[in-house]
Amino acid sequence: MSAIKAVLRKGFETIEDLFDRIFGAKNNPFYQLGALGWFYFWIVVVSGIYVYIFFDTGVTQAYKSLEYLTHEQWYAGGVMRSLHRYASDALVVMMMVHMLREFAMDRFRSSRWFAWFTGVPMLWLVFAAGISGYWMIWDQLAQYIAITTAEFLDALPVFGESIARNFVTDAKLSGRFFTLMVFVHIALPLILLFIMWIHIQRHASPKVNPPRTLALGTFAMLLVVSFVKPALSQPPADLNYVPATVNLDWFYMPIYPVLNNVSGVTVWIALVAATVFLMMMPWLPPGKRHPVAVVNLDNCNGCGRCAADCPFSAITMEPRSDGSAYQLEAVVHADHCTSCGICVGSCPTATPFRTKSDLSPGIELPEHQISELRDKTIAASGKMTGNDRIIIYGCDNSLDATDVIDDKTQVLTMPCVGMLPPSFIDYVLSRNLFDGVFLTGCRQGDCNYRLGLKWTDARLAGERDPRLRKRVNADRVSKYWAGLTRHKEFFRKLTAFRKRLAAMGPEQDSGQQGKKTGVADINA
């Protein structure tokens, strides 16, 4: 399983590197798969409502109403019908790639099981909703899928009468059947929407809208396909004849050829087994769980920054339980916590400047105590020489930078770079422990813990608490979000940074540093 993941991850990262260059990290569709899924869903809903206005529920009327829409009103109804089809197809693509990517990146186990687990039933709903839509057209494709689906359902030993018998002669088919299909075709997406909402419940600031540029681009693409190759019906259904050859929508119907060649019972067993297997995957085997964040009430002032920054809604602010004058305290919900440490990075008490008391912040990861990080930073500093001494703070999910460790460079990693309180940078530079601080982590736009890079960028830019102090010389701070693969660029940025530090010479006045350019230009 790990080998498959590694290969898939390598594949994704190679393609994503290319897309990063073309689209930029912000608009890279691979970092927006879930949001694109939502976007396509809404296109399907809006276009579906329009088509529904003109849809007639009847054995012959259903087909005729769609023919009218497609040919007589091609500029509006026809486009809407095409958008409905192509956005539905795109939704399947996004959903499958999204699932595969989360698997490859190993973001579905341990505390992150919930989104995976709730995502699996969506597969059934999306496919069922799509197939019911094709059924409503009542063309030869609809005739084929109606009979094949009914035969598939008949394989279940729960229906006394054969459902497929309803599609043997026209006499058995009534307009009310189409009314039922309309109900199914509306009800399934509504249930889907409800599960989509549940799916993101454990995500703080979930990405449900793609960036505007990407949304416009993808919508324009769908519009172009709709005009160039409008969605058309196949010849009308005729139960006196077998369609024999049909043009399947392969995004929704790859299972139909299987159903024609394998017994329905076998396919049911395979599908149920696959569903159960997929749902159980987070525990096959379970991901390694690290000790979750712990609140130290003596140092928690109830500011709520940890709750605001936690990417997985694992922290809530509750009424104080220790009789303190502060109104609220942070409470960690262990089953949601991924032990990323972003909460520690957000805590105003996690400052290495503290001298009057132990460095024990209001919230802490037991395995990665902030005092240890300070001690390691200080210890690492002692071995350094020159005026271009660099400390690299990295994350455990990005490239291994230990190759660069020498008498001028040290590397310290943590679960997520978002765990690093900005005050550490100030501390390192103002105490002259190093000449420069270099941050690295997952690739831009794709933090393993969702929001670690976003919050780090915002904190360094002075846009989010805890902010990096303005007195920090921005020329002595650099960052490059390298991910696992961008070694060359990482070394290039690091070398450039080192040259810059060497040219600057040693810091003259710690705490009152020379160039105060703010933090906007800290990117290497």
Binding site: R85, G160, V168, L239, D249, P257, N260
Partner: protein, 167 residues
Amino acid sequence: MLEPRLIFGQIIAYGIFAIVLGYFSNSPAYTYHDPEKALLMVSFSHASQTKEECRRFTQEELAELAPNMRRPMDCPRERVPVYLEITMDDEVVVSNSYSPTGLAKDGSTSIYESIPVKPGKHELVSRMRDSRRKEGFDYTSKITVDLEPRELFVIDFRKELGGFYYK
């Protein structure tokens, strides 16, 4: 402003996705039935005879039953399987025994078979046994059909209409 080469790259990326969507949304065509053949479909639901005849309870048996359960007749609900045989030009195309539905096998027997056949003129003979008899048939029907390629010919059965009927 995006560089022209990046705009070009995005157009290529969107274009590839558009081609994938446009093509696979209805291609390649899938043939699941030989267009040169017709299709015989046997589809009906029929309640066969019960496996055992009703019989009168003996006085001893009645005495053993709870007072509220006492009734004159004992009628086991299980039905016999339906045996169906269809020949086309004296060649057997269906010869199966179908069990009644239901856990107690007391429901109707549902039969649904599809058999691709050569088009043209054929003599079809349908026979069915739905009673306790061990041999022979309870219903027999013969029909000559002239089938076109892809034509769907349905063999149905309705007891109230006298047995087999065709469409």
